[in-house]
Symmetry: C2
Subunit: 214 residues, 2 copies
DNA sequence: GCAATATTTGACCGATCGGTCAAACCGATT
DNA sequence: AATCGGTTTGACCGATCGGTCAAATATTGC
């Protein structure tokens, strides 16, 4: 396996980080290689020396995030326990990862909503989490209809990730900085509250169903 | 009040629609005026004849969406009734609007996650809905903490809008096209189920609180 | 010390970008 | 037929885009 440029050279790492910040701040098309070079305190040609093209640099940025994302979630995904325990654990892991990688929500939303150039890369990233939700919720949710597992995947993805992207826009309207520590713990509690609510609701659906079939 | 170009000329309307489709498909920076002209079957200079600059054309695209969005929601927002009725009504109006404007979710997610060039435009668009949620939930939710109204604004925004953006990415992984009519009615039921769940949950929180204080 | 190797730079390339403008074109009006 | 206002076009502009390359500069191994 070949070693990526940012692990060989500290300069390459600085370039990658500059690209990371700029892309998350604007967008892939909105950032030029000159911007990246300038932000990294380096001449443009050097960027091409380490990363051969703009697409390659960009790929390294999101591939690194995706790998980190999967790594952060894998341990919490593989664990055992009740559905409730497992769900809370994955939510915590997801929130931990986002708070340690503040630019991730913007990046992934750009990917999903923007030009579908790297569509299968995003899909490969979301697939394990999707499969996990599918498998986990199959124990407590019907296999099809409005309460099927895949709806809860989208629902919880939205609940978790949208807070961070909307925070930038809506922050000024709020009484408090949405990204300050106390607000973030509030948000975390909110998501967990929603999770318990859904699991309780699904349980109620099941008992009502069995009552009705009796 | 001045008449916008697309209401004076059918050609201008075609150009605007082409810009609409391309921007939603890719992104503002990712689309050139030549692309727009070609998609509209027109020479580039004509685009500048009707819309004086790329920024102006782009502004017309999103302004039109925002106006339509507010128009579609205003009647459901202004109505009266129980909190539950009002919430279900606004959700239905939001979903109706999205299904009539399929490119809207991608556009708004691009705006929120992308370069914050038009940040206050987005804010003006989201503000009325945010204020409405704030006012409506104040009757049933605590004024601060994890169950404050603003958390439910973000939560429901995410639940409603994320489905459509994720659908494009995750569709191939699903057993069914996420945007086919039956899947959309399932999703609508899912959102309404979540709404009832939240309102019931908040009611339970309130009675537990008053029990505890007794 | 020198030579080989890796890093960094400035100058340059063709293509494309957003934008301008004068001229051609068009259907009415007289 | 002449003309006139709105429409459409082709040619062109300077700036910037992603990308290349040879030369200059550090760094390493001997």
């Amino acid at each position: 396996m070949r070693v990526p440029p940012e692990e060989r050279s500290a300069t390459a790492a600085r370039i990658l980080q500059a690209a990371d910040e700029l892309i998350a701040e604007v967008s892939y098309e909105g950032v030029s290689m000159r911007d990246v070079a300038e932000a990294a305190g380096v001449k443009k040609a050097l960027v091409f020396y380490y990363f051969n093209s703009k697409a390659e640099l960009f790929d390294r940025v999101i591939e690194r995030y995706y790998a980190a994302h999967l790594g952060a979630l894998s341990s919490s995904i593989e664990g055992s326990g009740s559905v409730r325990d497992r769900l809370h654990r994955v939510i915590d892991a997801y929130l931990d990862f986002i708070e340690a990688n503040r630019r991730y929500p913007r990046l992934i939303q750009q990917q999903v909503a923007g030009g579908n150039v790297h569509l299968d890369l995003i899909r490969r990233n979301l697939e394990p989490l999707f499969e996990w939700v599918q498998a986990t919720f199959s124990e407590v949710a019907p296999s099809h209809g409005p309460l099927a597992a895949r709806h809860f995947f989208v629902t919880f993805s939205g609940i978790v990730i949208n807070y961070y992207t909307y925070a930038v826009v809506l922050g000024p309207l709020w009484s408090e900085d949405p990204l300050c520590p106390s607000a973030l713990t509030d948000r975390r509690s909110h998501v967990h509250w929603m999770a318990d609510l859904v699991l309780d609701g699904l349980e109620r659906e099941r008992t009502e169903d069995s009552d009705r079939s009796r």
